[in-house]
């Protein structure tokens, strides 16, 4: 099987997963919900509003008609109007999603760096103190509640030592850039709004670091075990026998090949980080998608909750797709199928 059939196969699979996600939310919100009209309108809505909602979401029609309209509107990202924000949900998501994506992007780079190097370090010092220290660290990372990581960073780095600002997305006194791409940092670069750029970068570091802190453990662990496997491989032994410095063998020859399994983890880490960002954005008052989701949840803004979660589900499916393809491209040894 060629790589293209593999990619197309994966794409079809991803598409059906996206359909499945939409149908799943439909089942929850239209079929299993005890009273769909009140769920969509909010528990304290006036009767006239509920009537309007029934009309808008076709709730008085047969289920397959409802499913048809729901699928069409979800696939065109038309999630209705948020009763709390009084704005179309798709516009809200378009504003808030890039902020979370830039946070997760920075956090993933940090996670990758910490995870891969600590894993390589642990493998180099297997069964020594270095290994045990790294093991203790990744265990704690693994078991750390996201809010605790965020609070500890806030307490020490922001409040006690004052290195970085404790919350918000950027200094509120600075004029924010006009949205061109939607990503505040990139927009600031495009408009050469340097004060805003530096401020938002400084505000990004702590939440990104908190996200990295709760998710680097898995990467450390996988890097360590795959490093140990490749350190026993023949090409490593011959490199050592040919007289290449040991440190160089470990950090270039072995590390490159042991990074392959890490790539499949990236999608998983992405999914964790989206979950984690819901909590961490709340604590840092970082107004991204997680903040939007919790605010909508507290205010019984159901269309926004559903819209956000469908978009998040699609993002995770796409991340999995990209990871699968990357894996196949980088490692030709895997069985395509």
């Amino acid at each position: 099987m060629s790589i293209w059939t593999y990619i197309i196969n994966r794409a079809i699979r991803a598409f059906f997963l996206i359909l499945g996600i939409i149908v799943l939310t439909f089942l929850l919100s239209h079929v299993l919900a005890p009273n769909p009209a009140y769920v969509w309108a909010g528990p304290h809505a006036a009767p006239s509003v509920v009537q309007a909602i029934i009309g808008e979401y076709h709730l008085n029609q047969p289920l397959y008609v409802q499913l048809y309209y729901y699928l069409i509107s979800s696939l065109t990202f038309n999630f209705g109007i948020s009763p709390f924000f009084k704005q179309p949900v798709s516009e809200l998501i378009a504003t808030y999603l890039p902020r979370t994506l830039q946070l997760i992007f920075v956090a993933m780079i940090l996670t990758g760096l910490i995870g891969i190097f600590s894993g390589a370090f642990a493998a180099e010092h297997k069964d020594e103190w270095g290994d045990y220290t790294v093991k203790a660290l990744y265990l704690i990372s693994w078991c750390m509640p996201p809010f605790l990581a965020a609070l500890l960073l806030q307490l020490f780095i922001a409040y006690k030592w004052g290195f970085l600002p404790p919350n918000l997305m950027a200094d509120p006194t600075l004029p924010s850039p006009k949205p061109i791409t939607g990503f505040p940092i990139i927009d600031a670069i495009i408009e050469s709004n340097w004060p805003y750029f530096i401020s938002s970068l400084r505000h990004l570091i702590l939440p990104a670091f908190a996200l990295a802190l709760i998710s680097f453990g898995i990467i450390t662990r996988i890097t360590r075990s795959s490093m140990l496997l490749s350190l026993n491989a023949d090409y490593i032994r011959s490199a050592i026998m040919r007289g290449v410095e040991k440190r160089r063998v470990i950090y270039t020859h072995a590390l490159k090949n042991s990074m392959i399994p890490v790539i499949t983890l990236l999608a998983l880490v992405f999914s964790w980080m989206i979950s984690g960002s819901v909590i961490i954005e709340t604590i840092f008052s970082y107004q991204g998608l997680g903040w939007l989701l919790t605010t909508a949840l507290y205010n019984y803004d159901y269309p926004t909750v559903i819209g956000c979660s469908i978009v998040i589900g699609i993002a995770v499916v796409l991340a999995n797709f990209v990871a699968d393809v990357l894996y196949a491209v980088i490692d030709p040894r895997i069985k395509l199928g």
Binding site: C143, V305, I306
Partner: protein, 306 residues
Amino acid sequence: MGLIVTYTKKYRKNIGILIKLLRKPDVAFGLIILILFYSWSIIEGILQVIGSFIGKPDLGWILLPYNPFQPHLSQSLRLPSLTHIMGTDDLGRDIFSRILYAAPSDALISLVVVGGGILIGGFIGLFAGFYGGKVEEFNMWLTDLFLAFPALILAMVIEATFGHGYIYAMIAMIIVWWPSYARLFRAEAIRIKNMKYIDAALLSGLSKVDIIRRHMIRPALNTILPYATLDLGNVILFYSMLSFLGLGQQPPYPEWGSMVALGLEYFPKWWWYSLMPGLVILIIAVAAALVGDGLRDILGGEEKWV
């Protein structure tokens, strides 16, 4: 007689595992914490249930140093000290007592969710792995579908639809928890399927359902047990995230995650209000992970849990 011999053999094996576990200091530490946590939860939980049945809720805090509900405004926001080990909250309630009072609900949800996950995931995974073909394709597609949603988001949607509260959190968590077990059980079923004794059972005319019921559940559970132990901590961690968002036990009942959320208002000046419950969650989760790791080393599983 034969029955007694088999029972002592089984018993001896379990004792052997326990001794091996206790020999490693880190695992022993985790095991002690876990045992303390669960036995405290059982005692406290029984007292709370009896107290609510006979209409005397004060039975619930008979063993606690302070009443977890009674405000003492003169004592509010005290630093951790000898009288209040973890300090007091904004209403002057002892944080340590409130943490102890909340322990049974976390212990219960961890057991129920892991148990529910094993039941549903085991059912779907074993059938997928053993039957293969279309059954496997459909079951695994279903599993992937639930895994595609980040668990926290799916749980939030479920609770937004049906309501907030302890029972809803439990149901939502079971719904998001089974897919990882389905994957593990499927892998196990595929491993066991190729063993000789399954062929023998097939040849002797046992039906497929009977083979799964009689010959696959036990060996699969043996491999999954270490993971399930580790998972107890994950459930507590996850539930604390839900209750941090206000989706768990509703006030005035204390809950670890919601205590952290309440303390945010008083952060960073009165840091212990938020940090103490968070640290307790961290310790229990670490203990569960240590015991799970230790069990896996002894029972000889693979390092493939992702």
